[in-house]
């Protein structure tokens, strides 16, 4: 029995099995099943309030399913030792406003056990990546919305996690920087990182390897952008979403 389960899980980095989630009497997720292979960018698409954030929180190990299980790297979540393998960027910028950007990133990096030269080097690398190297000494409360987003992203990347979970990472970021961030995400993906992104920006969706469409707490379609468009006879993802959304009713 045990062997069967582990052999079943081997091929996928993340496995979500029959997950239901309720807050009190209100059920927000219904029987979610999702397999995410290694080295992929998977986009979770859906309107706000659809349950995307709740799903990624369970994958990140912060929340727990009411029933069903989440497996990461063949181990059942939540598990403290797995938390090190995840870089999580929440939907709200969870930053200490009165601290400088450098103090913020240093603090979070030490939560992941980084220290010394390694810490300094990683901070300068990720801050360069999000184009904030010149604003390290600034207090976060003086940052603009987009800068805070970028700093949150840098913090999620700082400990080089094999799994990245980004909840609406590009909100408030200009197109030029967004492009360079996507280039970096591809680089990470190609070097073996598995990335989950939630979004409701349609043009970003096309850049993902696979998509999961969520509506009213149900996973209504899974597949590559091309498959989803083909299966629904749509020319754009937006059309496909409307098609599946309508069909589910």
């Amino acid at each position: 029995m045990q062997n069967k389960v582990s052999s079943m899980l081997d091929s996928n980095c993340i496995k979500v099995e029959n997950v239901n989630k309720s807050f009190g009497k209100k059920q927000v997720l219904f029987d979610i099943n999702l397999d995410i292979p290694y080295s992929q960018i998977i986009g979770l698409l859906g309107p706000s309030g659809s349950g995307k954030s709740t799903l990624v929180k369970m994958i990140a190990g912060i929340d727990i399913a009411t029933s069903g299980s989440v497996y990461l790297l063949n181990e059942k979540m939540p598990k403290l030792s797995l938390m090190n393998k995840i870089g999580y960027m929440a939907q709200s910028d969870a930053l200490y406003e009165e601290l400088t950007a450098e103090e913020n990133i240093k603090f979070f990096a030490s939560m992941y056990g980084l220290s010394g030269n390694n810490l300094k080097q990683r901070i300068s690398e990720v801050m360069k990546l999000v184009n904030l190297s010149d604003h390290l000494k600034k207090q976060v409360k003086q940052y603009s919305g987009g800068m805070k987003r970028r700093l949150s992203l840098a913090i999620a990347l700082v400990h080089e996690p094999p799994i990245l979970i980004l909840d609406e990472p590009t909100v408030g970021i200009d197109p030029v920087l967004r492009k360079s961030i996507w280039e970096e995400l591809y680089k990470l993906k190609n070097s073996g990182t598995t990335i989950i992104i939630t979004t409701h920006v349609m043009d970003e969706v096309e850049k993902c390897n696979n998509l999961g469409m969520i509506r009213d707490g149900k996973l209504i379609a899974v597949g590559s952008p091309a498959e989803i468009k083909h299966n629904s006879n749509s020319s754009t993802i937006e059309e496909a979403f409307l098609y599946y959304g309508g069909a589910s009713k």
Partner: protein, 339 residues
């Protein structure tokens, strides 16, 4: 390692927030200073209006520092109605008739005592009692008496508020959820908070105690290091209760709303007011309040000069309360992450 990072972060946050530092150190010092002015211990000298009295009695009243004003009968009652004097004395057939203004019981008491002294026959002058003080001293001011309680109270109040609001901010800004998405253990957060604020409250407690003793000259005959130990423990208790209570508040205003429930009753039962006339079962409420133990220990050290042996029980109770709420805090964090 992670605990150390949290400690450093809390101290950095405080360092960036000058106003909070000011609140935690200068506000208690300001209020203590004001209270020392108000309760400086000098006795009240009643103002007495005289309509008709033997000169010997008037002289005796003046010897006892009463302020004497002579009136005609009509003027006297008018002055009394304007509260210009505390009482009027009129001798009718050799019997003193006193009319009191009466709105302040303590003033009325001091007038009656004064008049009784003045009209008493000086028969028992030979038997002047020999008075010695076991604790305290003659002319000890009431500030000396409740100053130790105030030191404990202000440390408790400000640490409760600042630690509670700070932990609340961690919940509402999402940073708590964010740090719980790291391998950080729940007890590491709680310990980090304890040590981070602890480091700061050592400075705070020491400054407040030093100021009260050396600048305000509050009575202090015990060990300074014991005073510091008790105030720091008081701060730790306030910290653990404050962070625990913050779980039940959704914003800063709601945190303030807990003050009348958590802090104010402790003031009444900590010994600031004399409760010995209260029924015993009501008095025993005090024993459920951390500030009672803190006040008891500080009074014993500062006024009665007692040592470790006499305050160790209070210290132990404070320590247990602190540990109890720490454990509760660790369990309460389960709401945010199950492991």
């Amino acid at each position: 390692m992670r605990v150390k990072a949290i400690v450093i972060r809390i101290l950095l946050q405080l360092a960036h927030d000058k106003r909070t530092i000011g609140l935690m150190i200068l506000a208690p010092i300001l209020v203590l200073t004001l209270m020392s002015f108000i309760f400086d211990g000098s006795n009240y000298h009643p103002k007495i209006g005289i309509i008709n009295a033997p000169i010997s009695i008037v002289n005796k009243l003046e010897d006892n520092d009463a302020k004497i004003i002579r009136y005609t009968e009509n003027d006297a009652y008018y002055a009394l109605s304007l509260s210009e004097v505390d009482a009027i004395i009129n001798f009718e057939n050799g019997i003193p008739k006193i009319t009191l203004e009466g709105s302040d019981p303590s003033k009325s008491q001091s007038v009656i005592k004064l008049v009784q002294n003045a009209t008493q026959q000086p028969a028992s002058i030979a038997a002047k009692p020999d008075i010695t003080y076991l604790y305290g001293y003659e002319n000890m001011s009431s500030f000396d008496n409740f100053g130790p309680i105030l030191i404990g109270f202000f440390v408790f109040f400000f640490v409760f508020l600042v630690a509670g609001v700070s932990f609340l901010g961690e919940r509402t800004s999402g940073t708590l959820e964010r740090i719980l998405s790291t391998p950080l253990r729940r007890w590491e957060i709680v310990l980090g908070y304890l040590l981070g604020f602890g480091a700061f409250t050592i400075i705070q407690s020491a400054l407040i105690a030093w100021y009260s003793i050396n600048v305000l000259n509050i009575m202090m005959i015990g060990s300074f290091s014991l005073v510091i130990l008790v105030t720091i423990l008081t701060a730790m208790v306030a910290l653990s209760i404050g962070t625990f209570i913050s779980a039940f508040a959704n914003n800063e205003l709601q945190m303030i709303q807990f003050i009348p429930i958590i802090v104010v009753p402790q003031v009444f039962f900590s010994g600031l007011f004399d409760l010995s006339t209260m029924s015993t079962w009501l008095q025993s409420f005090g024993h459920f309040m951390p500030l009672w133990y803190s006040a008891d220990a500080l009074r014993n050290i500062m006024i009665r000069g007692k040592g470790w042996g006499d305050v160790s029980f209070d210290v132990l109770i404070l320590l247990l309360i602190c540990i109890f709420f720490m454990v509760l805090n660790i369990l309460a964090l389960k709401k945010y992450r199950k492991i």
